[in-house]
Symmetry: D2
Subunit: 455 residues, 4 copies
């Protein structure tokens, strides 16, 4: 028996997330239905429509979905059961400009999409765009579940419920999985299991905010995994410095040596879940120079690479459609489909999500978006209590919570000073108020087409 | 494979709960081990030891447990994995006296074990006793899970963590099941299912405090059951008054006509989960006379009946052991064993428990004991966010939360005025301050042997 | 040098408060200006205009004010520096009806204007009326200070800022003065002073809500006065019961024997500030019968007396104007003029007021209206921290805070169930839910002309 | 009539504050009594004893005080009405070392006594010492008022009540006065007054924490002074950069050009009250280099100068006693004596103090020490509500509040990681975690003799 669904995909021209979703849907026999793709780049959506529909006839596909690119947001939303949002808030050119501006002022961001001046200004653009999404969803499909994939995750997700408090929203991010995998490896090694332990078998408690989530409890079959981690870090050679050459030879922009994670663990006794390239953007000192980053084994993801990927993706798609490239149909490793299944009543599931705080972290403000575990069941996503943040961790996290709330509020009211308060307060900021203000204004200037109503 | 456990049973001479536990353990193949029974009445514990060990050889028993009555609390606790507590805080004579005293002052309690002057004074006794339990558990088995069954549930549970904040404590109560059953019946009727829908298939959200827990969401396979309830109440004859004769012919002391529950639902739009005999003890007006109670279909459980049951139970046990009575080995319907299984890693489970508020009800004070759903997994009981109490419900519940906190504090500090503040503030109280004080003093007098340190 | 002010008087036809204000203004040389009198009874306002202007030429008058009755609310408000509000929310007939209804259901209210079912339903009417005042003030004189005298004080004051958060509002009540006088007398007696000690020389800390305010600290020249109070209560004959005859011979409706106050002090160690006739309306038990009230020395103020006063007042005014009655120009004992002086920069002043909680009582909700001391200085009324409510006192007060918030919210949204939640939760309520609902509906019926939008 | 007082002076060998107190006492006719001077340097206390007693016979002295150096803390405290604390927490050598260490790591602190790594480590020493003071005061003079002058003000004051919650403690600091003077000058200029307006005539509202206090309201005779400030900043030449040469020629270490203050005001709309040399220690960016500081007109107070003052002060005192130097008996401008007078019942007074938050700043945690106005009256210091911190200001201040709480807790529990959490989280910190940890350990090493129990 198949559950029939209507999915609206905002950002449906997406090069990466759309394909992941299509493949995951193709491999899930329990669900079927239609996906309406909306994108400000209609051609991109149209190409994804082609890809999606072409996929239906490929080997290994076990479900039936109809894809359709639509011209308006409203059209995609009308009657939707689920709304998936994965957009680029602004352009990659703007992203490149703001990362370059930050570097000009002595701050070097490996990612630049969540925290620090570039992440916060990106947040202004995102909140401005998401305000409209919120109104449209409330009007056209108020009972739909909205799943956000866009960064800055917290700001996007928070804007939706700040603007329309009754929307059912959560945000998904896979950053935590890596730390689960680490624990799984340590457990496997310790227990000398023949097969690798799957990450999902490691039970963790998660608390914090997206990309700055912390794990204060990890067990495997009742075994506390923290002592294994402590022992691991103490092994010779685990803590070390890297050279630029080493780092540049990683061959991927996304590798994490976990040096930052491990140093934090030594001081805080709690494990930061995300990769190091994200972590350094939430903390003082690391982003002060490319050399400092290399030392920790971190390389900055070049926006030029993102742009190339962006440019090449359509051709890859066309090659696939034309049979020039072979289809490799595999699961994405994302949990979106599993979550959708749970929400339509096909099994329950506990996993980490980004949602408004309704008490799951008792010493963070209500309504701020936090990341904790939640239990998915039929039409219900209910956070599990993650406990209060430890005293030493609390101020590390709250300042970002405050900044994110300021950005959402500033975006909704076009309050430039308020947005600046967040930028100046960010822990990566190394500038006195005058230079900070100057940099911020130059960033705003670069973003001006996406900030209507701002002067 | 069997998981071997050591269970300490405080109140191990219990007539009712001990037998339920023994039977449930007997029927569970995955667990085995030893149960140490401690009771201030050693003979009663000894009799349960006999019963428990005799049980091992009976038909239908699928596990292996060794029961042993021990002379001291310490002996029972040493090395325990689980501590079950189910005691009578004081004597049934005292209970009879305080219910009679309340009646003398015009307040008629059907149960008298949780709220109102009798429940609160019982709470003083219980907290005084539980303070010692807390210290002993912290000393002898600090990592054990403590499962409380004694009433007043909230006060008992709260005392343990108020005195020893690191103890792992939860309290179990089945009152909520009845409302789940009601929903299951309505769903079954509506869907015209051939077989009855099991109560566990009705998903509910639970919020409040023990015996005054509320359900604000109930679904079956994604179907909202609240409209069925609304329709049910409007059917002719559902809302009605009862006569004394009718009520006296119910043939059980525990029947609930749900008249109170339904009237509350009409005004609050949320369903009180417990039976009417409990509900009226948390609310103004109902307990003003036996006639009023009859009108709502409520009969007071006579303490004389409890005493008779108390007196007869040992003989029944002896009859069973002597083969004079036939063993009827059935599951109790309680969830204790299922919870223990989840805690030792044998499956996960979501059910309602009484635990310290760590944010699961965001507008009740942290640390007060509340009742919500929680997820049981290996060595973890993690509350699910139950949401904030609705504005109209909030004051109904908070005044009891305040009173229970006052009673615990008063018991720990022997502060008579503070205990009185709770009694005077109870919504069932109909007396001005002088008579209320007089009644309270007479109740204290009746309890004096259980309140050492009070004058 | 005289400060020239424009005062708007809403309820300017008032029989009692308007005259007090006029006399107090007449005796204050530092202020002058105009008073615009608005009343739904224009004739009453007109009569006060005559009285006010006639007063300017009388002996002993040391200031210059121009009184003018106006036809519209807007006219009175335009350009006002101060807005004084003192109205009858509904009619005395309705008040009589709801007090009679409460009595029919077994609840006997000596005043009936603040708490209990009559006070809460009066609050519904008041909030409905005050919503319009709030909007009008925000439009016509947003910077004016608004001084409220109407009961229910908390609900009226709260409605203004709930509807228009930027209004500058406080409420004045003299109930606290009586307790200051009591302390002054005890101090005078103890120190054997020749002259009486003025009440204002007794420094008190005040915390709670209007008519249910508590004093937890009273000093005179650094001497703690609480031991004097304790000793006073222990004197033979101070605590006693009264007979109906005694009470009926008091010769005033406003006498307080302080029996309730003293009994509360014995149990709570904190002094309830208001007179007994108010106190019993916030507590269980006292209002259960006229006999119970007599026992405590309390007589119910008959609404018939209020109506007679209402009817006779205009004639008294006309007699005064016609020279038939002699003018007795004395200060009212109210503090309104002194507060106005402080607000225009003529000296500073610390006194008790009703204002939104901005932290002055740290364990009551922010924004609820509470009564504490505040410091009046130029264009500023700044609450002094009154401390947290003691644990035993906390639940006595919070349930009223919750109820008052429910009434305001219910009035603004025409939510009948929500209003009922407050009525049912009131500690004076002795009825089960069905009778409580019936009584409430009959009261609403009596008020229907003042509750537009309610069915 | 003179009020006779016993004052204990902890740090009674103080070179600066002791003399200020003596002079102020000498000039106050309403008070007299004894001052017991305790200091770990007994000779220094002895010299102050001589000075104090010598002073009694000098011209212009209008009171009678007896000074006595005592050998033990206990002796100074026994029976005291007031305890004044003004100590050096550690030595100036340590202070010099930790400021030099910070500079080695690229952070340049003009003062180094409150915030940033040097201020926080100083806080560890101070809290360790103050813990003992708290116990001794609670034992020997539990009802005394304790007035703290030592920096870090917040940590010292907080430690006292964290350790002994019943102590009556407040901390005094004059930093706010400068901003009042600024407003007074602007008002005087605007109104073209012939005489300067005294700073005390400017009414301000104060909110924040010591040395990072903010003024959100300033009026003079009802005139809002903020527009004058806005206009002032816009005048040509007010905002400007400074050269090193200019700054080095100020001729004082304490001059504030207010450039930082004014830039903050432009962005936050609220005025930071302290001098720029303090402000930059609470904010990112300014302390990155000596050049940056010069640009803002800030020079670092050299610890060598403090040491010279320290060394020379006793000789100055001896010169004074020997008649070699002329006594110049003037009021210090501090408010300590005025506060003492108010506390003994000689007038009331509203001024800024550092006290535990009991709600005066509603969005900061209860019990943290904050700086707001308070009303001093007989035996009472009662904070005035200062309002919630504005959203943009909130995160700037809370991170320091968190850090200060961590330092107090770390000092009381010898928790090195927890102390580090504060250091790493400080906004002046520019280091990644490894260097930050290294610097912190070197600072701890320098302080080791003042941190018993730490390894």
């Amino acid at each position: 028996m198949t559950t029939e669904l209507k999915i609206a995909y905002i950002g449906g021209g997406s090069r990466e997330w759309a394909r992941k979703l299509m493949f995951d849907l193709a491999l899930e026999p329990a669900l079927g239905g239609s996906v309406k793709l909306f994108d400000i780049n209609f051609d991109a959506a149209k190409l994804n429509e082609q890809l999606g529909n072409w996929l239906q006839d490929q080997d290994g596909v076990v479900s039936r979905w109809k894809y359709e690119a639509v011209q308006t947001l409203e059209e995609s939303l009308r009657g939707a059961d689920f709304v998936v949002v994965s957009i680029q808030p602004g352009t990659l050119d703007i992203m490149a400009q703001e990362i370059a501006l930050a570097e000009e002022y002595g701050m070097f961001f490996p990612v630049g999409d969540t925290s620090g001046a570039p992440g916060l200004v990106r947040g202004l653009r995102a909140a401005t765009i998401y305000k409209n999404f919120a109104h449209a969803i409330a009007e056209h499909c108020p009972n739909a579940w909205v799943i956000n994939y866009t960064n800055p995750m917290t700001i996007c997700t928070r804007t939706l419920t700040r603007v329309e408090p009754k929307l059912k929203v959560f945000g998904c991010c896979h950053e935590v999985f890596k730390s689960q995998e680490l624990f799984a490896e340590l457990a496997s090694e310790h227990l000398q299991t023949t097969a690798p332990i799957p990450r999902a078998d490691v039970a963790i408690n998660v608390q914090g905010i997206n990309h700055f989530t912390w794990i204060d409890r990890a067990t495997y079959n009742g075994m506390d995994l923290f002592p294994l981690l402590t022992a691991h870090i103490q092994k010779p050679g685990v803590l070390r410095e890297y050279t630029q050459a080493e780092v540049e030879n990683f061959g991927t922009w996304f590798h994490s040596t976990d040096q930052v994670k491990f140093h934090l663990f030594q001081r805080y006794g709690i494990l930061a879940a995300a990769g190091d390239r994200h972590l350094v953007e939430f903390l003082p000192g690391f982003t002060r120079s490319p050399e400092e980053l290399f030392k920790w084994g971190i390389i900055r993801t070049p926006v030029s690479w993102r742009k190339a990927r962006w440019t090449n993706a359509p051709q890859q798609t066309r090659d696939l459609l034309a049979g020039k490239e072979k289809l490799s149909l595999g699961a994405s490793g994302e949990e979106g489909i599993a979550q959708i299944k749970a929400l339509v009543g096909l099994g329950e599931r506990v996993t980490n999500v980004n949602m408004e705080n309704q008490g799951q972290i008792s010493n963070l403000p209500l309504h701020a978006v936090v990341e904790t575990n939640a239990r998915f069941s039929q039409d219900d996503v209910r956070p599990l209590n993650a406990g209060a943040l430890a005293p030493g961790l609390y101020p590390l996290i709250t300042r970002h919570v405050s900044n994110q709330e300021l950005i959402v509020e500033a975006a909704l009211t076009c309050d430039k000073d308020m947005a600046f308060h967040a930028v100046y307060n960010d822990p990566t900021n190394r500038l006195p108020i005058d230079e900070s203000w100057e940099m911020f204004n130059r960033m705003l200037q670069a973003s001006c087409e996406f900030l209507p109503g701002w002067n």
